[in-house]
């Protein structure tokens, strides 16, 4: 059977197809269609099948990473949302937690709330802290809310009432009625995030409403088209947590896809690093539009919170940082005559000037072309011709403005783009107390390997590992991801009268529920693993430690108490004698392995001579003759010394002088400083 991974970037949509029996991998790239991402996805899948003579019926699984949700948040293009909240607290979304991000900034600003004041509706009802009704929500009030909503004509409604995590009755009354009476995407906070702290719960619920219609509409269209193309295939979507979910299960969980498109890259980069036994890696996924950076020490970190475009959301997410630096990033000169690169991108359309599609702006890709790093005849393996003259015209326009030569400007563009990435890498390493010099760089995306040596030089990194198919590494990450379900339930019980039975049965029920959901999504029982944990604290604290349990404890609470106390001592240096312990939330993470990826094998050939030679412009503006190789023709153990260029269909690796490379049997290309 065939499994397809499909990752949508700002400029290109990348496809990888893996044969589950032989491990054979083939890859393909098409231009993205930003207005409806599904068009390029379907086109890409159709083409990879046709190119390789595969029948669509052989495809059993398509795994997809999408940026639909991310883009909606960054560009503020989500649904028109009405918020229904407890009267008196309509401004909560605007006040947030009343603090500012930077303590010494006099210009304390916060992102504009997603729901404007006139769309925040107060409802007369009230619960107390135990969930008892103080002010009843009566039918007239529900009727009034519905009629107000009807006039506002929202695309989506978020219902978030005080203390709904204790008692969801009022929220459900409203939700049911809204769903019946108004055609819109409606969600309640007790379903989206049943946790205390009203601001965090409300803003996460609003975000679900904001993203839901768009994400579901998109997945619906894609699913329909895919069924027509590959009738036997399932569609799985990458979630922010680095695991996948069946496309039909995304309703009410759109925020779980907030950084779907980024997670695939992190998983793919880490898969490559792990394959090479690397413990500390910086993954740099540089596509046409943006660059996604993560620093991994030992394992991929999944954080409980995330933030996109200044919008906080409490959803488990892999730790990754995005900046507007890609091959399509536009170079420009400001009023003061200073050269800048990005964050605007020429994207896929019109694309860099070299695409010769009406794009007049000089981009990073244009600079690479002029410096001789890219081959105009072999972009995307020759499927696309690059026009050097167009690049020269675009760059010379900038060179006139700042009085430098075209080559100097091209070098400047690369240097600035590199320093933008360096800044972001420092944020995820140096600022967290890690020395980037001890990391291995894993560059991928179409543009990553072309600039990898520049980045490594800037950070004093000595080793670079280029994946076998750099341009398709995010798609590879999709294919090797596990199905994943995260379930939680608040149990809140305190010793000595703890309700061990409730917690135990909650864990068992969640385990069953998560297994059920995985089976429903097509997992096989023997491939499912479950992880139990309980969030615990001392009575009086309000932050918990998450205690992982060996699975299937007969008495999980007594087992966890001891683990909690030692963990509290390990982290904070003390345990509290005679202090009661509280069990707050039980959690189950269930994973199902989708596919045992057979490692890619690079067939060793006889040492190949360079395919050709061409001039490249070096860092100091001098010109040198570089040998040009084809990646797939390299032999294992053959050493290539810079200046050299290694071309392949989906990317180009550039080696500066003083750098050398060796192709390894596992498919990776190891680039090192020195010879």
């Amino acid at each position: 059977m065939k499994v397809i991974g499909c990752d949508v970037g700002g400029s290109f949509t990348d496809i990888i197809m893996v044969d589950t029996d032989t491990g054979e991998q083939v890859v393909h790239k098409v231009q993205s269609t930003p207005h409806s991402q599904d068009v390029a996805v379907i086109q890409g899948i159709r083409e990879i099948l046709e190119d390789n003579g595969i029948s669509p019926a052989e495809v059993s699984l398509v795994v997809h990473g999408t940026t639909v949700a991310t883009n909606a948040m960054l560009q503020r293009k989500g649904a028109r949302v009405c918020l229904v909240t407890t009267a008196g607290l309509e401004d909560l979304l605007e006040i947030g937690r009343q603090n500012r991000e930077e303590i010494y900034s006099l210009q304390a600003t916060r992102p504009r709330p997603l729901v404007g004041r006139e769309y925040r509706i107060g409802v007369h009802e009230r619960l107390d802290a135990q969930g008892n009704v103080i002010e009843t929500l009566n039918d007239d009030e529900v009727e009034r809310i519905v009629s107000v909503l009807r006039k506002k004509k929202p695309d989506a409604v978020a219902v978030s009432l005080l203390f709904s995590y204790c008692n969801s009755e009022h929220e459900m009354m409203l939700l049911d009625c809204i769903k019946q009476e108004i055609e819109c995407y409606a969600v309640a906070s007790s379903q989206v995030l049943p946790e205390f702290r009203e601001f965090e719960r409300t803003s996460t619920t609003v975000l679900e409403a904001y993203l839901g219609p768009l994400v579901l509409g998109y997945l619906g269209n894609l699913d329909t088209s895919l069924r027509q193309l590959c009738p036997k295939s399932k569609l799985l979507i990458m979630q922010s947590n680095g695991g996948t979910v069946h496309s039909s299960r995304a309703s009410g969980r759109a925020i779980g896809l907030a950084i779907s498109g980024l997670a695939g890259g992190v998983m793919g980069g880490w898969y490559i690093a792990g394959q090479s036994g690397v413990e500390q890696a910086i993954t740099v996924d540089m596509g046409g539009t943006s660059c996604d950076i993560s620093a991994i020490v030992g394992k991929v970190v999944v954080k409980p919170d995330n933030e996109v475009g200044g919008l906080p959301l409490r959803v488990p997410s892999v730790d990754v940082k995005t900046i507007g630096a890609g091959g399509g990033s536009i170079a420009w000169v400001d009023d003061a005559g200073v050269l800048h690169v990005g964050p605007q991108s020429a994207g896929a359309d019109p694309g860099p000037a070299a695409y010769d599609k009406r794009g007049l702006e000089a981009t990073v890709t244009d600079a690479n072309l002029l410096l001789g790093r890219l081959n105009p005849q072999f972009f995307l393996g020759g499927r696309m011709q690059l026009n050097v003259d167009c690049s020269r015209t675009a760059v010379s326009r900038l060179s006139k403005k700042i009085g430098k030569t075209v080559n100097e400007v091209a070098l400047g563009i690369i240097r600035i783009s590199t320093s933008n990435m360096m800044q972001a890498i420092r944020e995820v390493t140096v600022e967290r107390g890690h020395d980037p010099r001890h990391f291995t760089l894993v560059p991928f995306g179409g543009a990553g390997p072309t600039q990898a040596v520049d980045i490594a030089e800037a950070l004093n990194i000595n080793t670079i590992i280029v994946p076998p198919f750099p341009g398709i590494t995010s798609a590879l990450g999709l294919v090797c991801a596990n199905l994943r379900v995260d379930l939680m339930r608040t149990v809140l019980t305190t010793d000595p009268e703890m309700d061990a039975e409730e917690a135990t049965s909650a864990l068992n029920e969640l385990t069953e529920e998560s297994q059920h959901r995985l089976l429903e999504q097509g997992a096989e029982k023997q491939h499912i693993t479950c992880e139990w944990s309980i969030d615990m604290r001392y009575v009086g604290q309000s932050h918990e430690l998450s205690i992982r349990l060996p699975q299937r404890q007969r008495e999980p609470l007594s087992a966890s108490r001891h683990l909690f106390e030692s963990e509290h001592e390990r982290i904070y240096g003390y345990r509290m004698k005679r202090r009661a312990v509280e069990w707050v939330t039980v959690r189950v993470v269930a994973r199902a392995k989708q596919l045992d990826l057979k490692p890619y094998r690079h067939d060793p050939l006889e040492g190949m001579n360079p395919h050709s030679q061409r001039d490249v412009i070096l860092e100091d503006s001098s010109c040198a003759r570089a040998e040009v190789y084809r990646r797939e023709q390299l032999s294992v153990k053959q050493q290539i010394n810079g200046p050299a260029i290694i071309e392949q269909v989906d990317s180009t690796t550039y080696l500066a002088p003083d750098w050398s490379a060796k192709q390894r049997r596992d498919g990776t290309l190891v680039v090192r400083r020195g010879r």
Binding site: G88, N99, I103, F163
Partner: protein, 528 residues
């Protein structure tokens, strides 16, 4: 001038120190018991060299951070000999390194073998340390003795264990001993985490390497600050602002400052400021200095690492026995939280005379301290609640002020309604933006907040310390001032005005309503 040996190691160690302080903060609030610390994060952590100079800090509360070096120095001076490995010293003495009594500071030495090489310390605002009224933030105290227990530096942790005998006076003074113990344990945890993290760093970089970086850091910040202050050489300005009242009968109390950019150094002189007053707005010297440091860091120190070097070029003169440098037994409860905000307004006001383009209009200029205590009918036990409320930020050239936000010397979070009602017999009825309270301008000042809390407890006392209830937060360059704040009490349909500083006993069912001031506008408002 070469400021450092290896710029990359410098940067790595600098950030590692900051993340060490950040982890201390996290440990403190994650293990704390009182909502004021665990939810509102009214606490700060920092790292100091062996002489008590600030080396690195977490992004917490400005008024704490700039004042903590004096706490560490007070410990070195008074109990330095006793600060052996595994010990920690506690203090809150406002006349010797402290700010006001609820702020308990815990200082721990860090050792390299047998020699002391550094300190880690944290400060947390405790919800009750005794005194006349619950919350230990009385509106109308006239002596430090009214405000709670005063603790001079003393060892309370030995062999890394909190010794209960050493704090029995604190535990018997407070209305909520259980909570205090929990919060103090959290403070011990924060320092433990900090020391451990520093030791880890020393394994990687050696103590020699770390201590060298401590020096480089201070030198670097000092040099960078000097450079950004340079363009203002020869400038000179003065400004006077007022405190509304001291809660004990005096009103319109002046704070006056003269700022003089002499060659390479800045002189900030508060001569002309009122003498210390009877009420509790006297501001301990550590908090006064902290407020001036804040202004210079905010205006001239963008991107410069915060440490003692940042203020090495600033000479501050504060007359003895003035409200900004009071002597025992002055009442000080509101000085650290209210007067500190006015020191910022005054200093900014002076700098606006020099360059209004870099200075915003006045922000709300208060923290709106609200303390409520009494008996919780649900448990029959005493409770003590404390919070501060955000308001409008001043507008500046090119930007509107934010609404409903904490400004300048504080950055505490709000108490989530769901936490507040779970822990205390209180109910939040309204929490909203106070529309149109910001001053109009070319750029508008931010709006204040309205917060209404119904009191369900028995034998309750409400204490308020607030400012800008008479004088408006000023606008700049013809921008209009922000609207003044207002405190009221509602009971059975009657509305009672409450003074800016007040402590009142209230029956169950009363509703206290705080309307916080708006920020000033910047530039002439467009005519309609």
């Amino acid at each position: 001038m070469k400021m450092m040996d290896d710029p990359i190691s410098f940067e790595v160690i600098k950030n590692a120190l900051e993340s060490c302080a950040r982890e201390m903060s996290q440990a403190l609030r994650r293990t704390a018991f009182s909502p004021n610390i665990k939810e509102r994060r009214d606490c700060s952590c920092a790292i100091f060299d062996n002489a008590g100079s600030l080396v690195a800090q977490s992004k917490d509360i400005p008024v704490h951070l700039g004042a903590m070096p004096l706490s560490v120095k007070a410990c070195i001076e008074q109990v330095g000999n006793e600060m052996r490995q595994g010990t920690m010293a506690l203090l809150n003495d406002p006349f010797s390194g402290g700010s006001h009594l609820p702020d308990l500071t815990l200082v721990a030495p860090v050792y390299d073998g047998s020699s002391r090489v550094a300190f880690v310390a944290n400060r947390a605002h405790h919800a009750d340390v005794g005194g006349l009224s619950p919350g230990s933030m009385p509106g109308t105290s006239t002596s430090i003795d009214d405000e709670g227990i005063l603790i001079r530096p003393r060892i309370i942790v030995r062999d890394s264990e909190l010794v209960l005998d050493f704090i029995d006076d604190l535990l018997s003074a407070t209305r909520t001993p259980d909570e205090r113990l929990g919060d103090l344990s959290a403070q011990v945890a924060a320092n433990t985490v900090g020391s451990r993290r520093l030791e880890g760093l020393s394994n990687k970089h050696t103590w020699n390497g770390l201590l060298k970086t401590f020096e480089e850091l201070k030198r670097y910040s000092a040099e960078m600050m000097k450079r950004t202050l340079m363009p203002y050489q020869g400038k000179h300005a003065e400004f006077t602002d007022v405190m509304d009242s001291d809660g004990a009968g005096t009103s319109e109390i002046p704070i006056m400052v003269t700022v003089n950019f002499a060659s390479e150094r800045v002189q900030v002189d508060f001569t002309g400021t009122s003498e210390q007053v009877k009420g509790n707005i006297n501001c301990p010297i550590a908090s006064s200095l902290s407020s001036v440091y804040y202004v210079f860091k905010a205006l001239f120190g963008e991107g410069i690492p915060m440490n003692e070097g940042c203020w090495s070029a600033i000479d501050i003169h504060v007359p003895k026995r003035s409200i900004l440098n009071p002597e025992y037994p002055a009442a000080v409860a509101a000085g650290n939280v209210e007067t500190s905000q006015r020191i910022v307004d005054t200093t900014l006001g002076a700098l606006a005379q020099i360059d209004p383009d870099i200075v915003p209009a006045a922000s709300q200029g208060t923290m709106n301290n609200l303390a409520i205590g009494g008996i919780d009918p649900r448990s029959g036990r005493a409770f003590s609640f404390y919070e501060t409320i955000g308001g409008g930020a001043g507008a500046g050239r090119g930007y509107n002020g934010s609404s409903g936000i904490h400004t300048h010397m504080t950055n505490t979070l709000n108490t989530p309604v769901e936490s507040l009602e779970t822990e205390y017999p209180l109910r939040v009825l309204t929490y909203s933006i106070r529309r149109a309270s910001g001053g109009r301008g070319r750029w508008n000042g931010g709006d204040g907040i309205i917060r209404e809390i119904e009191i369900l407890g028995e034998d309750c006392t409400v204490s308020i310390q607030s400012e800008r209830r008479a004088s408006q937060p000023w606008g700049l360059k013809a921008g209009e001032p922000g609207v003044i704040g207002r405190n009221t009490l509602m009971l059975k349909g009657k509305v009672l005005e409450l003074a800016a500083k007040s402590t009142v006993s209230v029956p169950s069912g009363s509703i206290v309503r705080i309307e916080t001031p708006g920020g000033g506008g910047w530039g002439k408002p467009p005519s309609n």
